[in-house]
C-alpha cells in the first residue's frame, strides 16, 4: 500500500527478490522481512521530505500530528491529499478527494503580507524617530517606500 492508500500488487518470487535486492542472497523469502524493508523505505522517504521554510519533515508531521508553518502544505501536498481524506471524512470509499469549499480570503495573501509589512515598518519608523536614530529612520523610510510602491503595482495589476 502506498501513501495514497492505493494498493499496488507486486509478485515476488525468491529469485526476483534476490535480483531486486529485497532479499539478501543466501536467505529464504520471509514475509516479515519484506514488510520490514518496505516500512524502512517508507520511513526514509518520509524523513527526506522536508518543508523548505520551517524544516519540518513529513515523518515529524506524522509523529506530532502538527504542521510547522504555512509552507508545509505545499511541501507535503501530494501526501497530504489522501491523508486528509482519511482523517476528515467517514466516507472513505468515495473516489473524490476532499478540498476546501468554504469561505475564501478577500485580500490576497501577497497583498495582505505587504500591508502588514508596511504597518510594521511604520511602527519601526516612529520608534526610530522617537529615539532620534535618524540613520535608522532613513533606512526604514527607504524600505517603506519600496513596499508602498510594490503595493501600488499590485493594485494596478
Amino acid at each position: 500500500m502506498d501513501e495514497k492508500g492505493n494498493k499496488r500488487e507486486i509478485a515476488i518470487c525468491e529469485e526476483c527478490a534476490k535480483k531486486r535486492g529485497v532479499l539478501e542472497s543466501g536467505k529464504t523469502l520471509n514475509i516479515e522481512e519484506i514488510l520490514k524493508i518496505m516500512l524502512k523505505a517508507k520511513e526514509k522517504e518520509d524523513k527526506e521530505l522536508k518543508c523548505p521554510r520551517c524544516l519540518l519533515t513529513f515523518y515529524e508531521f506524522k509523529k506530532y500530528g502538527k504542521f510547522g508553518c504555512p509552507d508545509c502544505f505545499k511541501a507535503f501536498e501530494e501526501k497530504l491529499i489522501p491523508f486528509i481524506k482519511k482523517i476528515q471524512t467517514t466516507i472513505r470509499e468515495k473516489e473524490e478527494e476532499v478540498f476546501h469549499k468554504g469561505k475564501k480570503v478577500t485580500v490576497g495573501v501577497k497583498r495582505s503580507l505587504l500591508l502588514s509589512e508596511i504597518k510594521r515598518l511604520k511602527m519601526e519608523l516612529e520608534k526610530a524617530i522617537r529615539e532620534e536614530d535618524y540613520e535608522q529612520a532613513a533606512k526604514i523610510r527607504d524600505m517603506l517606500k519600496e513596499k508602498e510602491e510594490e503595493l501600488k503595482k499590485d493594485e494596478i495589476g
Binding site: K66, C69, K101, V105
Partner: protein, 351 residues
C-alpha cells in the same frame, strides 16, 4: 441571598432557545498568520511578535480587554477556563500567549493556543445561526488587516490537520440527564460519532463529563461550506434535544417517585451540607436543574443554577470570595455555605 447575574459570563445570563436542554452554543474559528511559523516551530521571540502584531490590529478594531502573560497566572487561567472563555490547551501550553475578551464575556480570541488565533463566540441556548452571522463579520474584519494563511485547496491553514479548511467548529453544550438515567446516552454518543460528530466532556477535548453535561459539535472541517457545517450540527442537535425530552417524559410518567426522590435528595444535600467539593456540587446542581425543568422544583430559576454552576468551581469561588489563601477544606466549607444561602433564600422570596 440573591446573586447578581453579572457575576457570570454573558452567554449564561439568559436562558436561550431550547434552554431546558441546550445550555449554550459556541462557534470557533482557527486562523494562522502567513508571515509566521506555527507554534510547533515558532521561537518564544516569534511568539511574542505574533501577539504584538495581533494586538495592534484587534485593539484598533475592537473594544476588547486583553490579558497577556503578566495577567495569566494559574488561578486566573483556570478562572477563564471555568467560564468557557479559554480552552484546556490554552491553560496548559507553555507558549507565550494572550487572550482578548469582550465586556459581555461572549467573545474571546485566544492568541497562541494551538493556532495563532482561536476566535470564538458563545451565546445562551441553541443559537448557532446568530453566532454564525456574528463570527463571520468579526472574521471578515480581522481578515482585512491580518495576513491569514490560506490556500485554495486546503482553505485556512491550521496547525492540526483536523481543523483544516473552514477551521470551524460549531458546538452546543447540552444537559442530558434524561438520556443518562434511561441508559440511552451511550447509544446517542455512538450514533453521533458514526456520522462525524464529536461528543466531549464539560470543557471540550480530552475532558471528562460531569453533571450529565456534554459538548457536541462537528468533527470534520474541510470539504463542505461553513453553512453546511452549521446546518448539519443544528439538525443533529435538534434530534438529540428531542430524544432527551422524550427520555424526561418517560421518567416523569414511569418513574415519578424515583425521579422526585432523586431531585429532592439533591436539594436536601445542597441546602444542608457543611462541606461540598466542586464536582459534587455540579452533579447535585445538575439533578436540581432537571427537577426545575420537570416542574418538580418551582422556586429556583435556571439562571440561579447557571450562576451557582460557575461560582462553585475552584478558581471562580476563589475570585468570588476574594480569598486566594483558602485551603481545600475551607473552600469546601465556604462553597457549601454559599450554595445553602442562595438556594434557601430563593426558596423564601419565591424568586
Amino acid at each position: 441571598m440573591k446573586l447578581d447575574k453579572n457575576l457570570i459570563p454573558g452567554f449564561l445570563r439568559e436562558i436561550g432557545k431550547d434552554g431546558d436542554v441546550c445550555i449554550s452554543s459556541r462557534i470557533r474559528l482557527a486562523r494562522n498568520l502567513e508571515n509566521h511559523l506555527f507554534l510547533l516551530k515558532a521561537s518564544l521571540k516569534e511568539q511574542e511578535e505574533i501577539i504584538e502584531e495581533i494586538k495592534e490590529v484587534i485593539n484598533r478594531l475592537n473594544n476588547f480587554q486583553f490579558y497577556g502573560e503578566e495577567k495569566l497566572d494559574e488561578i486566573f487561567l483556570n478562572y477563564l477556563l471555568e467560564r468557557y472563555l479559554v480552552s484546556p490547551d490554552f491553560v496548559l501550553n507553555k507558549n507565550k500567549k494572550g487572550v482578548f475578551i469582550d465586556s459581555e464575556e461572549k467573545i474571546s480570541i485566544m492568541v497562541n493556543e494551538e493556532d495563532h488565533l482561536r476566535i470564538q463566540i458563545l451565546e445562551g441556548g441553541f443559537s448557532l445561526d446568530e453566532i454564525f452571522v456574528r463570527i463571520n463579520e468579526l472574521d471578515d474584519k480581522l481578515e482585512k488587516e491580518l495576513p491569514y494563511a490560506f490556500s485554495e485547496k486546503f482553505g485556512f491553514l491550521t496547525a492540526c490537520p483536523t481543523n483544516l479548511g473552514t477551521g470551524m467548529r460549531a458546538t452546543v453544550m447540552l444537559h442530558l440527564p434524561g438520556l443518562i438515567l434511561t441508559n440511552e446516552m451511550e447509544k446517542a454518543i455512538k450514533a453521533a460519532r458514526s456520522i462525524g460528530f464529536l461528543v466531549r466532556g464539560i470543557y471540550g477535548e480530552g475532558t471528562k463529563t460531569i453533571g450529565s453535561y456534554f459538548q457536541i459539535g462537528n468533527q470534520f472541517t474541510i470539504g463542505m461550506k461553513e453553512e453546511e457545517i452549521v446546518e448539519n450540527t443544528k439538525n443533529l442537535i435538534a434530534q438529540i434535544v428531542n430524544y432527551e425530552r422524550k427520555a424526561r417524559d418517560y421518567l416523569l410518567k414511569n418513574l415519578k417517585n424515583e425521579i422526585e426522590d432523586r431531585v429532592w435528595r439533591a436539594y436536601g444535600i445542597l441546602t444542608n451540607a457543611i462541606l461540598l467539593n466542586s464536582e459534587e456540587a455540579i452533579n447535585l446542581l445538575s439533578t436540581l436543574r432537571l427537577g426545575v425543568c420537570l416542574g418538580i422544583i418551582t422556586k429556583i430559576s435556571l439562571i440561579t443554577i447557571n450562576i451557582l454552576n460557575i461560582l462553585v468551581k475552584r478558581a471562580n469561588l476563589i475570585y468570588y470570595l476574594k480569598k486566594k489563601d483558602l485551603n481545600e477544606e475551607e473552600r469546601d466549607y465556604r462553597r457549601a455555605l454559599l450554595v445553602k444561602k442562595v438556594l434557601k433564600k430563593t426558596d423564601e422570596t419565591n424568586e
